[in-house]
């Protein structure tokens, strides 16, 4: 048991097992160690440690000011002067002494918040470990390090971190990069020739290899942070170097693979590879915070030090802290980084001489970010048919161009927006060999297919409820949407822009027939006309449609309008759109021949018994009373009568035509109804011109009623 494999006694204590009375499951052998008398759990133990390390009790206050959000009054300094001075002082105090490990002070003065307190015990261990380096084989390690060192920039001669008064100076990115390159060149030459010269201004002249080793580690530790995809690249090197250090004396069997891009060439988009200035604040390698995951410790993972980020770093650098960053650590780090950046912005603001109030957070979105966003928007605007996709912009440009041409200037042709098109790639879904099931590979250009949902309307003959009404209205609106698209296509056919005309694929007749199929019900089909025309949108649709229709196509529409006059006029009270249809009707009427008129008025004649039973819920009453009480209706009737009178005068068709009988029936009906009307009928828009036309059909009394009704102007009596 006390074998010689380990230097110390590795014998395990005898396992006692659960005491009498307790079962195996209930008994916790290590309980006492954790919670019991064995531990000395003092609440303030860590606090005391921390205070010692912090050096003074005023640490709490400066920490507050350190992390404070800037107010509007506090524009001058995000880091208050005193805190900055403290930070500065402490940074310079941190001296790593590898030569004499005993000198390691337990109270390394660090600004509060950088590290969690490090118990003394681990520090001493770290010191011991660091002290082991001088025993390593210097030349071999040195050579290896030198070889690797060429890949990493060395910042040995960097000036110390700026004093508080100099915090204001800004080094632009270009300056830093220039310094960087200059130094790396200098270092390369120097390294090959010198031997054991100090790597940094301050600090002891320790053995070269140890310093370089630590240098390497720290630099490598920071590198992963600099690259967004850095961590995998950064890992191999510290790993190998650490192994190197631990295999004291064993020659290195293999070259560590150089970082893929070399440290100088970072992936495009990174600002600079600038490692932090001020190399003298280094810690021995093994001095990790106590709560650092041990496995990462072994891999030589070094958390990037917060103070190393003083050079300007763009926001997106912070996206990928090296893996294994302790969350506690990370929060502190982020706040430090944030602070540095605010400082930076503040300095930039001062430099840019902003007039007005200082906004230290302004300019978070760089012009590059803005350009990126604009590019995305431009990409989205790309289109092969701008008239269809981007109608308003195209129409507006067209109008402007026409105005310009009218003004006389000969401007450019219709300009499109700048197009940045990707070549259309034929998409073939990725096929996986030998896989069970169907795997999906989605990308931006070929996203996942979503289930195509359709709304199914269930027709049920419920009682009329308000809910039903709104649903009907919605259905009507949907139908109108469909019709509107067709009407728009009709209009596009006559648009001056050639693009507009090309965008319509069907010919006029097809479109018109499609529209009419809906508006004029087929035999036995449900008549949607009244519901469509109850809505304002439907009436406007009809208005826009009339100019495109042939005469013969209009007739059934007028007929339908009159037939459903009850409903339509009732719903029109708010909208008042019917009047706008009157000119169209007048036009139609002016060309009407008697059969047309008869067709239209037939709906107003008293229904015969064999009226076809319509499935719709239109009231079977004659629309005449409704028409007469409505101004529009009266106008229609007046126009019809006018026209009939004209036709009669011209005797076409001849008086013996059977249609005239229907006509006379109509006129007498009108007279009757107008007598029976309870309310005063409205006056027509176009007063009757020729009273004589009526005398043929009606007796005198009725004629007089009609005349009064229709406001016949007696002066014009022929």
């Amino acid at each position: 048991m006390t074998d010689s494999f380990f230097d110390f006694d590795a014998a395990l204590p005898a396992d006692e097992g659960p005491p009498h009375g307790l079962e195996e499951d209930e008994y916790d052998a290590l309980n006492d160690e954790t919670f019991g008398a064995e531990t000395e759990w003092h609440e303030d133990e860590w606090e005391n440690n921390h205070e010692q390390l912090a050096g003074h009790s005023g640490g709490a206050k400066s920490k507050e000011s350190f992390l404070q959000q800037p107010d509007d009054d506090d524009e001058e300094g995000l880091v208050s002067g005193s805190a900055a001075a403290q930070l500065e002082a402490r940074l310079s105090e941190i001296i790593l002494d590898d030569e004499s490990p005993s000198k390691h002070k337990a109270n390394i003065a660090m600004p509060p918040g950088f590290w969690p307190p490090i118990p003394n015990l681990q520090q001493k261990q770290a010191a011991r470990a660091a002290g082991n380096f001088p025993n390593a084989n210097p030349p071999a390690i040195f050579n290896q390090l030198a070889a690797m060192g060429q890949h990493f920039p060395q910042q040995q001669q960097q000036p110390p971190p700026p004093r508080p008064s100099q915090m204001v100076t800004v080094r632009t990115v270009e300056d830093l990069e220039r310094d960087l390159r200059a130094k790396s060149q200098a270092q390369l030459h120097q390294q090959q020739h010198r031997d054991g010269s100090p790597l940094r201004r301050e600090g002891p002249k320790g053995p070269m290899d140890a310093n370089q080793l630590i240098e390497m580690l720290r630099v490598m530790g920071t590198m992963p942070e600099n690259r967004p995809q850095g961590p995998p690249q950064g890992h191999p090197n510290p790993d190998i170097v650490l192994r190197l250090a631990q295999n004291q004396g064993k020659p290195m069997m293999h070259q560590p693979p150089p970082p893929p891009n070399g440290a100088m060439m970072l992936p495009p988009g990174m600002r600079h590879p600038h490692p932090p200035p001020g190399m003298h604040h280094r810690l021995p390698m093994n001095m990790y915070p106590p709560n650092f995951p041990p496995h990462l410790r072994m891999r030589g993972e070094m958390p990037p030090m917060p103070w190393m980020n003083q050079p300007p770093m763009p926001m997106h650098m912070m996206h990928q802290p090296p893996p294994g960053m302790h969350p506690h650590h990370q929060a502190q780090m982020m706040s430090q980084q944030h602070h540095m950046m605010m400082q930076q912005h503040h300095q930039l603001q001062q430099q840019a001489r902003q007039n007005g109030s200082h906004d230290p957070y302004a300019g978070l979105m760089t012009p590059k970010d803005k350009q990126w966003l604009i590019n995305i928007q431009i990409l989205q605007l790309n289109s092969q048919k701008p008239y269809v996709d981007d109608f308003y912009y195209t129409a507006f440009q067209f109008k402007k161009q026409r105005a310009k041409e009218k003004a006389g200037e000969r401007g450019l042709r219709l300009q499109r927006r700048e197009q940045r098109t990707l070549e259309p790639r034929a998409y073939t879904p990725a096929h996986f060999e030998g896989s069970l099931g169907k795997l999906q590979v989605v990308s931006v250009t070929a996203p996942r297919k979503i289930i195509d949902m359709e709304i199914m309307n269930s027709d049920s003959a419920d009682a009329q409820t308000p809910v039903r009404d709104t649903r009907k209205v919605k259905q009507a609106l949907l139908e109108l949407e469909r019709l509107y698209i067709l009407v728009l296509q009709l209009e596009d056919l006559e648009h001056p822009l050639p693009e507009a005309q090309q965008s319509v694929t069907e010919c006029k007749e097809e479109i018109v027939s499609k529209i009419l199929n809906t508006l004029i019900p087929a035999a036995g089909a449900e008549d949607k006309f009244p519901s469509l025309l109850s809505v304002r949108k439907g009436k406007v649709l009809l208005l826009r449609l009339f100019p495109h229709l042939l005469y013969s196509q209009q007739t059934p529409l007028w007929r339908s309008l009159l037939q459903n006059f009850w409903i339509i006029s009732r719903k029109d009270v708010q909208d008042q759109v019917l009047f706008e249809m009157f000119p169209a009707f007048r036009e139609w009427c002016a060309q009407a021949v008697l059969p047309n008129l008869v067709e239209v008025i037939s709906v107003m004649l008293p229904q015969k018994s064999e009226a076809n039973p319509s499935p719709s819920n239109i009231t079977p009453r004659s629309p005449l009373p409704a028409a007469l009480s409505n101004k529009f209706g009266v106008s229609i009737i007046a126009s019809i009568i006018n026209r009939a009178g004209e036709l009669d005068d011209n005797s076409c068709p001849p008086k013996t035509h059977p249609d005239w009988q229907s006509w006379s029936q109509f006129v007498s009906t009108v007279a009757e109804v107008s007598c029976e009307l309870a309310i005063e009928p409205s006056t027509p828009l176009d007063p009757l011109a020729k009273p004589n036309s009526l005398t043929r059909f009606v007796d005198n009394k009725q004629s007089q009623t009609l005349q009064r009704l229709l406001q016949i102007d007696n002066k014009h009596a022929a």
Binding site: Q69, L364, T465
Partner: protein, 139 residues
């Protein structure tokens, strides 16, 4: 402004880039009003608001709650607009403390719920069903 570094958007397009670093009022879909400095946007109109306060209005009074940094998902924004600093300084409304305004808001909510209940019962008595699809308010 001869700022050559700031790229311009194509003509006829709307962009939020002109609103950067301005003090904006943002109305969210759940009815909250945020006032803050717009720091960053993206193609979905997600917003990063800085030094944000949430302002609650009840009647003629209002109260501000400090919120810090907000990241708002673009789809939740109803509208946003620039705040005029002069008008902001001379508001006709009275500012009260946060607790007071929250209490006032609670009272207002309760009153609204009571009123809705009364209205719906009255409608039910008359045989009308107030259906939820007719009400599209989200707050």
């Amino acid at each position: 402004m001869n700022d050559g570094s700031n790229p311009t958007c194509p003509p006829g397009t709307a962009t939020l880039l002109e609103e950067l670093d301005k003090k904006l009022m943002v109305l969210l879909r759940d009815g909250r009003t945020l006032i803050g400095y717009l720091r960053s946007v993206d193609q979905f109109a997600n917003l990063v608001l800085h030094r944000t306060i949430e302002r609650i209005h009840v009647g003629k009074e209002y109260g501000d709650i400090e919120r810090g940094v907000f990241i708002v998902r673009g789809e939740n924004v109803v509208l946003l607009g620039e705040i005029d600093s002069e008008k902001e300084a001379s508001l006709p409304l009275k500012e009260i403390s946060v607790d007071d305004i929250l209490a006032a808001q609670r009272r207002e909510q309760e009153a609204k719920i009571m009123k809705e209940k009364i209205v719906s019962t009255a409608l039910k008595d008359r045989g009308l069903n107030m259906s939820s699809e007719l009400i599209t308010d989200e707050f």
